[in-house]
């Protein structure tokens, strides 16, 4: 494949199963908002039937190892699986070390598996936008399961988790009775809670604790009427509890399909995509103007609010001119 191919050509090749073309398409989405929107325009009128599964939890809880097990499970059933593995970018160097693949490399050469590592690249990097758009592309290309791994810290991570059909929160033994840790952010968004590393001795104690928290309604907070969050034990290393996890994920899919939430999620995802792209385009232009030495001023007789409106107008005018 040559770099000179048009977006339509790259997309065409990717649709025919050319993985190099797909890899390149994802790079286009990551690097150019304009081209990314051209890609989206090409594919948005159709949709696949993918099931988007978000896997979140603190670093080291075993998300990547667990995903590798899930890949095996789905692969054995003849499904096509895409993984979007998100890792943080260092705010200091802007570099990133992406190591999720280490646990999944046994699947690197499987024809029905595509794994892509994505750095967060700060807020302006627009991870949320490229992440959401990548989901759209994998969906269109006929992937059955799209698994998104992230540590679930910060708004970008939460955004992307919220567009997943099914959210799996991974914890480990020894989390202790620290209810604050549970209450922080991601612990409230799970459809399924997994206590991984259940091969460890403290597992039973933590399980009992999580079970209690679930009963109290401390876990799975928002809009969970109609679905009672599940709690499961796994050992990704030993390969235990994987069937049960896959069963629960399937049950949840059946639940959202029956309750119309499946389509709602897709609509939410697309609205979010537009909003995130708008933000990204705006912020990039703003930065651009600042770099060109355009000063943002607060005139004496202007209110702060009016100054903001003027700035927005100015950026819009610049964007129109392009």
């Amino acid at each position: 494949m040559s770099k000179g191919d048009s977006i339509k050509e790259v997309l065409d090749k990717a649709s025919k199963g050319d993985k190099a073309a797909l890899g390149r398409l994802l790079t286009i989405i990551e690097t150019s908002p304009k081209k990314a929107s051209m890609v989206v325009s090409e594919i948005l009128h159709e949709e696949g039937g993918a099931h988007v599964i978000g896997i979140t939890g603190i670093p080291g809880s075993g998300k990547s190892t667990l995903i590798s097990r899930l890949i095996s499970h789905y692969k054995d059933r003849g499904l096509k699986i895409a993984v979007i593995a998100i890792d943080p970018t260092s705010p200091l160097s802007q570099g990133a070390l992406l190591g999720d693949r280490i646990r999944m490399q046994e699947h690197a050469t499987s024809p029905n598996v595509f794994i892509r590592s994505v750095p967060t690249r700060g807020v302006k990097g627009g991870l949320s936008f490229s992440g959401v758009t990548m989901i759209e592309v994998f969906d269109k290309l006929g992937y059955d399961k799209i698994i998104v791994e992230s540590i679930g810290v910060g708004q970008t991570d939460i955004d992307i988790m919220n567009v997943a059909h099914t959210i799996v929160v991974v914890t480990t033994p020894g989390l202790g009775d620290d209810i604050q840790a549970l209450k922080a952010g991601i612990m409230e968004i799970g459809d399924i809670y997994v206590l991984n590393k259940s091969d460890k001795p403290e597992a039973n104690k933590t399980y009992a604790y999580l079970d209690f928290a679930l009963d109290l309604g401390e876990l799975g907070g928002v809009d969970k009427r109609g679905w009672r969050p599940r709690l499961l034990k796994t050992s990704a290393i030993m390969g235990e509890g994987i069937q049960e996890l896959a069963d629960s994920i399937k049950e949840h899919l059946e639940y959202i399909k029956a309750s119309n939430k499946y389509m709602e999620k897709i609509q939410t995802r697309r609205m979010l995509m537009i909003k995130l792209l708008a933000e990204k385009i705006f912020l990039e232009k703003l930065e651009d103007l600042a770099e060109k030495g355009d000063k943002i001023r607060l005139e004496k007789n202007n209110s702060l609010y009016q100054a903001c409106i003027n700035l927005i107008k100015k950026v819009s005018r610049e964007l129109e001119r392009e």
Binding site: L26, Q94, G95, G99, R101
Partner: protein, 151 residues
């Protein structure tokens, strides 16, 4: 060369262009300290580094390079099997039509093997003890060259 100021200068260059590197341990040896040190140095210089972990086959490395759409591949081999492994890796890259991706190699490579490796298509061989700065600088320049060829 290689002082803090030079590294800062390089980092500035890297920021604008976003370099994606694949660092891979090819073959059966299980020592990945060297590979990890290089991966970390490239990350600290501002690159996006994908690390595969140990015991990779050439097939796995090439597939990973394709799915991740990387700019450059760095390979570490300590097992002594560098000639056949690199032959296989480079021929797979050719087969897939992505042999414009530069490949550099580090590890315990006997000096007389270097010309052979270069003939196979390895872009650069780094011997043990190479300053990390040299590897960073090489990476930036090799990616720059590759991109100007593609455009």
């Amino acid at each position: 060369m290689g002082g803090a100021a030079d590294i800062l200068e390089l980092m500035k260059e890297i920021r604008g262009r976003r370099i994606k590197v694949l660092v891979a341990k090819l073959g059966l040896d299980g020592h990945d300290r060297g590979a990890k040190v290089v991966a970390r140095a490239l990350k600290d210089a501002g690159m996006e580094v994908i690390y595969t972990g140990i015991r990779q086959s050439p097939e796995q490395v090439v597939e990973t390079a394709i799915q991740e759409d990387v700019d450059i591949i760095g390979v570490s081999i300590l097992s002594g099997a560098h000639i056949p492994l690199m032959e296989r890796l480079i021929s797979l890259l050719k087969e897939k039509g992505i042999d414009d991706i530069p490949v550099f190699l580090g590890g315990t490579i006997p000096i007389p093997d270097i010309p052979k490796l270069e003939k196979i298509g390895v872009d650069k061989v780094f011997l043990p003890g190479t300053p990390l700065y040299d590897i960073i600088k090489y990476t930036v320049e090799a990616v720059k060259k590759k991109r100007s060829r593609r455009n």
